[in-house]
Amino acid sequence: MKGSYSQAEESELAKASIEGDKLAFGEIVQRYRRMVARTVKGMLGDSVFSEDIGQEVFIKLYNSLADFRGEAKLSTYIQKIAINLTLNEIKRRKRFFSTFSQKGNNEMYEYEVPDYESEEKRDASELVNKALARLDPKFRIIVAIRMLQGYSKKETDEILDLPIGTVLSRLSRAQEQLKIILEKL
């Protein structure tokens, strides 16, 4: 086992993790933790479920690292796992709420604004969370990827496996919906 992997390349980390090196895998989790949080929490909100989904993303990654051929970036591979697991959770919640509740999409997005050193930052975080909570879940994914992660159009269509035309159309519709939501906030 190596002492530190902080300077290691992705491929080296993946190889060491496959061989069972927990330290190398810990470095992968450390590097991509926030990226996964932005996707999962951007789509599900800040709740205990998001933490669980976040953990599952990395566990699934660990179990499927042997299948990772290195053709795409590791971050894209992780991002895809995060999106798939979060979409599954959204579907599960939709089924649950459609059976047991008459309320809308808001129930699927919970959030808790953390303590910030300034009131302004707190307000900004609250505004974004409120907007995401009101946004249709099918648009949240594109907003999470584009607005929170900063992915380009090409990267977005690669991650979502969608044609560029569909990505652009969804972006435009998400933007329209966000405009209406933000006017009321």
């Binding site: 660990y62 307000d123 900063g150 992915y151 652009l168």
Partner: protein
């Protein structure tokens, strides 16, 4: 940043020609950041380690089951062969009656046996 400016930034980040990285960076600077709770990495590593343990336990269990099944199967086959040999020796054939132990009985004989007449 004023709320109106922030709203503009949010909406603008979804523009087709906007630089999404710049918008994401500015939002983060404004306090829009997401992260998991403290100890997240340790929890993941613990779950990965316990998952590996449980997989090892499952493999060990299925191996033991296979060994046990093989032993039972071999013993069972041997018992069946012995039974067939004993039936053949005792009854002289493998007919249904010999399997049921009814080799030398007639219907009337059974009635006599059951009624005692």
């Amino acid at each position: 940043m004023k709320p109106s400016e922030l709203k503009k930034l949010i909406i603008g980040s979804l523009d087709e020609n906007a630089d999404p990285q710049l918008a994401a960076k500015r939002l983060e600077e404004e306090g829009v950041s997401f992260d998991f709770s403290k100890g997240f990495i340790d929890k993941v590593i613990d779950r990965v380690a316990s998952g590996a343990d449980s997989v090892n336990r499952e493999i060990e269990f299925s191996r033991s089951m296979r060994i046990a099944f093989n032993r039972i199967a071999i013993t069972g086959v041997a018992a069946i062969v012995l039974l067939l040999i004993s039936i053949f020796i005792g009854e002289g054939s493998f007919s249904l009656n010999s399997f049921l132990g009814l080799g030398d009985t007639y219907d009337e004989g059974i009635i006599c046996l059951l009624t005692g007449n």
